[in-house]
Amino acid sequence: MFDKITYLDNAASTRLDERVLEAMQPYFFEIYAVATSEFGYSMGIDAKEGLMDARGSIASTLGASEEEIVFTSGETESSNMALKGVAAAVRKKKGSHIIVSRIEDFPVLNTAKSLERQGYKVDYLNVDSEGIVDLEQLGSLITKETALVSIQHANQEIGTLQDIKAIADICNEKDVLLHTDATHTFTRVPLDVKEIPVDLATISAHTIHGPRGVGALYIREDTPIEKWMDGGYQESNRRAGLENIPGAVGFAKAVELVAPEENRRLAQMRDHTISKALEDIPHVTLNGSRINRTPQNANLTFHYVEGESMTLHLDMRGFAVSTGSACFSRSLEASHVILSIGGDHERAHGSLRFSFGRYNTMEDVDAVLGALREIVERLREISPLYAKK
């Protein structure tokens, strides 16, 4: 039936690039010591140098300095660290008010909810029909007590890009710290912390063909942040635990391998998917913005059909995509993102997310859309909602 799996779920995880593995390998078999101080043994000093080089390379991509990068185990840890660490550090000085957007990914959203249970006051910012946060509401919600604002750079499901410069300017002007989850934009959409005054940013290797289990938190110099995980004094006493040096080296290599040309190619696949789906298949709605969108994301609702049925049919033909349907999610709840942009359960139910990566081609896009056209037609034939049309 088919001789390959076409993987179109690169927002969830990506295939490792061989060149990343190659860069990591010496740190498993030759330089496997911990990063020691300069007074340690040679292998430890080599390990430390590997870690420092990786840190330097990631810092320069963000326009940051080396000391401002803390390696973590990935997106979830980085966002936990940012919210919990800053909240604890400024609670007494400023207050216990936090603002996040409604469409944050779970690391931010559920950390905010957890802080709420601990007595923090959390406001959830509204977004418009494209998923853009309400800047006026943001300005009006900030008080003297506001400890932190956390708004993602781009959305994990619908790819909507926020005007992070405008958000940062508002926060800066009101003297409030800003964290941004840049998991889905890092290296894909420019973010220079010298130009955009964010104070903390979550980044991760798993979305850019790097190893999973490694990410980082950018922390602007002098940002108050408490250590939230107890243990040793690694990462300048900001993050306890044995450093994942092969991971950090792999992360830096993955960053180096993302070229502007690749991002343009991803954007072409995205645009082709969106326009072809809207042209070729009736009753399709684009979720998110046509313009303010990450290059690698297309999210569409195929009305009158259910997402898990579509993904299972696609899987049977060798295509891996994801859906915002409740039937697919681990909490059995429809996508909070699609509900927040004003969609109903039906819109979430029939939504599919295509997220592109290095190993996808234009032929893949044509093939998945061709298959989908048939699948949607078949499922609509048995749908009571479609029959009513």
Binding site: I5, E306, M316, G318, L332, E333, A334, A348, H349, P384
Partner: protein, 220 residues
Amino acid sequence: MLKSEVITLKFPYTEKVLEHFRNPKNVGKLEDADGKGLEGSPACGDMVAVYLKVDPETTVIEDIKFESYGCASNIATASIITEMAKGKTIADAKKITWQEATDELGGLPPVKRHCSVLAVEGLRSAIRDYEEKHGLVSEQEPTTEEVVRSRLKHVMNPMAGLDIVRTELVTKIEVKEGIVRVVLDLPSSHQFANAIKEDLVEKLEALWDVKEVKVVFTEG
């Protein structure tokens, strides 16, 4: 994965489920149906419509069709249940349980069973519709604690794949002047709290004399 390897796909469903998902039986609509049922679940958003043709003399289901706006387990269960009901009298068809249907399918993942319950309810509601139209229903009974309890046996606990009554999630039921209060042994922050609540509210609000449904979670 190397190209030369044979690609083996791993599905969370039995071969029988996949077969009914790929090629569902009795799909479509009966224009002059004697009984129709439409059931929906807000918890997962699925919907099933069941249409019956019944012989008035013998009450045997002569023809049955379904439509589904749902996931694989919903489509497969609806397909198998129409096969099971065809040729049975409405009294016998009413007795087909969700357990019998899932057994026939070789089982379903626990978390997916609530989607399949819907198909069983679709059949029962089509039969009820037939009975109402043909004067076979007795007086409407008022909602009591017992009625609530039996309705709640159709709300799934996704953790166990069994209903919330049998898995002892329901710790208290109160019915007073049309207001139903259900206490669940579950914190509101639980992964499935919202899904269960929505499902539960929808099942109870459908009762003719229920004005309001209150769900109380147990924290800590």
